[in-house]
Symmetry: C2
Subunit: 654 residues, 2 copies
């Protein structure tokens, strides 16, 4: 029974706010969780328990604990009993550089298993300033609503007027109607309203996306259009002075490094596109090509076509790097509003090379449409690429597309199709279900659906970076790079990772790659998914942000010692609880695999020529390291005990 196992939380699902029960303020935290039951419209607050904070830290850690307890296997993704968690990192809202992430988690409509996604920007910090570490939504509102939170108070408001608006319009309209332009809004566009299975949760005028796993569709199902937040509190930290001093020291170091952070600042993550294409890492033509001749027309690297549309840069809260781009397409068929959010690496690769499109203006337009409609750019791009390959093979015809010539590289078709998917128009109705479900309807298309567990594979090719085999195949959420991107430790950049002891890996071999995936997943789960650091600031990201600093900031903020080994253990704990959720929901070992294409079709050109994904070599060793039963895929009893999860996930073994 959901709720029956909430001994850690003791959250009253209904009733009045009981903040007085909080006996001691936890440094780094706002200290409260907001519980919103949407069916009847009841709100309550409960204190964040010390035990929960200490065991699961924050963000996805807290979400995994809540979801494991409250969402049993018989609850579907589109079910009032699916719970939707918005949670912040413990460092979110503090002055720690590059640690402003918020997390959205629920049972995923795309995978049917654990789903989480995260975004940067300012929304997460604002939620903490308003007094809450997390929001826990249950039920389904009878009509469109939004949640309005202001300095410790929360109200459910009518959102009928905003329903049907795109994510940017709704953001602006809500802020205008509430009379405070500094309010931070997280919302959905029409994709979420239409239950597109890869709909995202947008924030900051549709500039930031919690894109993966279809969390926007869960919001849409719940008739929850938006969460508007305003807060004026600050987050108390254990040693403010030392934290500021350490931050100043780090910022200086980051700004000076031209290999990584300096480069990222100047060229954005899209600045890595050329390198990834060179290495055979960035998917081209729905993962059939090892190289993209036209990459220079779209890359963000110096001299690339991206420069044509670039009109500025932006940074998330307390970020000295500022990897975000601002772009404008002036005039023509792909004109955008001035100064819209630019393309990240993943979006560029998915909507560009993967669709074999080399018109940067069309790609920017498709990206902007994904943001406006609230749709994951990775899944959207991958789904369009899938549809293009279906079209070239006669599985989708012009009759299906209303005359659109859906061949690879057709920029116009890309833009039109993104729009149709969000609106579920024509063939978009089938594609809005994601590649896995679409392939069941489009007979013969299964081999073109490049996904793991239903989640379209992110834009790094495991044929180029073998450790990604394990990251993609074994991650509970499916093939998401945010589960632990190993490209950096495998040689995409050449910076050292002393604590991880992963230096000197040979890119194109399977050697020690299980270990790399294991360590990077654990690390990212604690540093990124629980503490709130962004990918760039995770020790193995595109940065020289050292792991010692990640951990030192945590200690200065919370007052709690966090040795490296303990941090890794917490990351492993959270990762395993997500895995346990999946096992409870029916996931088997057989689903920890990769698409046939990656396993069997070697690259015939480019920097990873001749390579296939070496999953067969890597996965058994990975399972061994994880302490998972190689037959069932289930975490062993011993592993759960070691991670202090046995009592939580006892039903896995009893």
């Amino acid at each position: 029974m959901p709720g029956a196992n909430l001994q850690i939380l003791r959250v009253p699902l209904h009733g009045s706010c009981v903040v007085s029960r909080m006996v001691q303020r936890l440094f780094g935290y706002a200290g409260k969780i907001l519980n919103v039951e949407l069916t009847r419209g009841r709100i309550s607050a409960s204190p964040l328990s010390r035990e929960l904070a200490e065991t699961f830290i924050g963000g996805v850690g807290i979400a995994s604990r809540i979801l494991y307890d409250t969402v049993p296997p018989w609850v579907g993704a589109f079910d009032p009993l699916n719970h939707l968690v918005f949670a912040t990192g413990v460092l979110t809202g503090t002055r720690v550089p590059c640690a402003g992430r918020h997390f959205v988690a629920a049972k995923s409509p795309l995978t049917g298993y654990f789903g989480d996604s995260n975004a940067g920007g300012f929304w997460g910090a604002e939620l903490k300033f308003a007094g809450f570490d997390a929001i826990f939504f249950s039920g389904r509102a009878p009509k469109p609503v939004y949640l309005s939170i202001s300095d410790g108070e929360a109200r459910i408001e009518d959102a009928s007027a905003y329903w049907g608006m795109n994510a940017r319009e709704a953001d602006r309209a809500i802020r205008k109607d509430l009379g405070d332009r500094n309010i931070k809004v997280a919302d959905i566009g029409v994709a979420g309203e239409n239950l597109v299975r890869f709909a995202s949760v947008m924030s900051e005028d549709a500039g930031r996306a919690a894109g993966r796993c279809g969390m926007g569709a869960v919001m849409g199902f719940k008739n929850l259009k938006a969460i508007a937040v305003r807060g004026h509190n600050s987050i108390p930290v254990a040693d403010d002075e030392a934290l500021k001093e350490k931050a100043t020291e780090l910022v200086k170091m980051l700004n000076e490094d031209e290999r990584t952070t300096g480069y990222t600042s100047k060229y954005g993550t899209a600045g890595y596109y050329s390198s990834c294409v060179e290495l055979g890492d960035s998917p081209v033509r729905n993962w059939t090509r090892g190289y993209f001749e036209d990459e220079e027309k779209i890359t963000g690297a110096p001299g690339g076509g991206y420069q044509e549309i670039l009109t500025g840069r932006r940074a998330c809260i307390y970020c000295p790097i500022g990897c975000r781009r601002v772009v404008t397409v002036e005039g023509g068929p792909y004109a955008t509003e001035p100064r819209v959010e630019g393309l990240e690496y993943e979006s560029l690769a998915a909507l560009g090379g993967d669709c074999f499109v080399s018109d940067i203006k069309a790609i920017a337009k498709a990206n902007d449409l994904c943001n406006l409609h609230g749709m994951d750019t990775i899944s959207a791009g991958a789904t369009v690429a899938f549809a293009m390959e279906c079209f070239e093979n006669g599985i989708i015809t012009k009759e299906d597309t209303n005359g659109i010539d859906l061949r690879f590289g057709n920029a116009e078709a890309l833009v039109m199709l993104v729009d149709k998917i969000a609106r579920r128009e024509g063939i978009g109705r089938i594609l809005a279900e994601g590649t896995r479900r679409a392939a069941h309807v489009l007979s013969g298309a299964e081999r073109y659906a490049i996904h793991v567990k239903g989640l379209e594979v992110a834009m790094h090719d495991p044929r180029a970076f073998p450790a990604m085999c394990a990251t993609y195949a074994a991650s509970p959420v499916g093939a998401d790079h945010m589960e632990g991107e190993t490209t950096f430790v495998e040689g995409l950049l050449h910076v050292p990772y002393p604590l991880l002891e992963l230096d000197g890996l040979d890119r194109l071999t399977a050697k020690r790659k299980a270990e790399a995936a294991f360590k990077v997943q654990n690390l990212w789960h604690v540093i990124g998914n629980c503490m709130g650091y962004c990918l760039i600031a995770c020790a193995t990201g595109a940065t020289v942000y050292p792991l010692e600093y990640n951990l030192a900031f945590f200690e200065l903020a919370t007052g709690r010692k966090m040795p490296f080994r303990e941090a890794m253990r917490i990351g492993e704990r959270v990762f395993n609880l997500k895995k346990a959720f999946n096992v409870r929901h029916g996931a088997t070992r057989a689903e920890d695999t990769l698409p046939e294409r990656l396993l069997k079709e070697p690259h015939t050109e480019g920097g990873s020529k001749g390579q296939v994904a070496m999953l067969g070599e890597i996965l058994p060793e990975y399972y061994e390291l994880r302490g998972w039963d190689p037959k069932t895929g289930k975490p062993t009893k011993r592993k759960l005990e070691e991670l202090e999860l046995f009592d939580v996930a006892r039903d896995l073994w009893e």
Copy 2:
């Protein structure tokens, strides 16, 4: 991957009809399966394979095999990839008496596990006359459609004009528009359209219901309003002469028996209401009372209040008994159309005693509304009873009900609430989710939600008939009497069951009750759920239809020997495949239980005074008999091998 394991079926999901592949006609079968992919609107037919027919017989047997193969755990009940199967019994459409059932199966929106339901009447036979043993729906239509089948041809037609109609209106309108009043229609009412989780599939002018498990909601989700069937073929049987002769012999015997069949014919199943109340078997006031003083006001037994509204009787195809009633409420607030379908025992108990309502006219009206809206009378009645108890305990208030005084026994409230649930109006919006989900929203209501795995408990009390503990707790679909009702072998009637060796059971003890549940479930699964006999004609039903006749008819129809032991093994096989489906979808041993109320609150009066449900005594023995692991609830490898299911459900163990 769904479909990947279809080695027995080899059903081409798309493409043209390949009936020519059928090399040899199987006696008793139409010989073809119809495959309808609703998303794109593709239809194909495939031959019924001999292997499938021999291993799984028909009906739920075939459905369980298809669903196990095609619906993986990540597919939700409301998901285009949930498959909806309509299947007939092998004897359906032959001249075997009392064997006209059809079956509807899918992943259940109510339980999240295997769901099946069945109905009598004429629809199933008509489907076979039209050339098909089963229909296999996948996908989701873009707009309301219905399937029209006529003598081997099938077309998907626009149903926009019928959407919003109740099930009777739609049935009549479709027959009128197709210009043939002899067409048989299975359809949904507004409850199915509104995804009420216990919506039923109606047929025969809303006179017959496949009520349980929410199959009507799956139809509604698929935008499938109806299936209209007309056929003129007959079903070839192995020995037509001998079958007719045997049937004549049986009919004579049935008509002459006054203890069972004769009584059922005269008084209907509602004629047993008084006996059930006397024994403390029929739930009263949401299962809190052991006796119902007002039972005579509503019972169908001689002299009971039911007589006031009775205006006739009806029979299903080739049925010499005719347990169905025809009723009319003339004038007043509860007026019905003339001559609508009357109440069965289950409907009378659920909408009557369980809600503490003793106004037979209101109960008949509520029953008619359930039929018109297409809603399971058991779950609807149980949900109203649940709501009434919530109201009496202040959990639902007059504010929630728009002023309705929802106390137990309020006949007017019963009728209004049934209507509101189907329309999802007011509090009906919450109750339309069923008692389990409603109890999660209505804080404190969990103890009033009388369900197993989300399916509201059918109208026989396991405190009165202990073997029902196992039937309810361990049946894969939840607490459904149609999974194997043991009341008859436990002493509701006093007829012998020689082959089953179950004579002389002592009603109020646990002794041999695990064995009774085990045997009756297996028997009903083969005789009822696969062959197509109705409850009344299953050897342990309210009849003297001997098991030898059940099996003899099967042999005469199919030409296949069916010894008792082999029949029981097939029943056990089907039951275990349903169980295996649940295990794959995350069901655990802990869910094989009963509501607290039945386990802990003894009857304080009536024929089962002092009794609680003796599940703790019965279930371990039952598990032993079943060969299920007592810790995990999983069928053991050995059991699966013994039942030749290991290859089918290999993923359970690998």
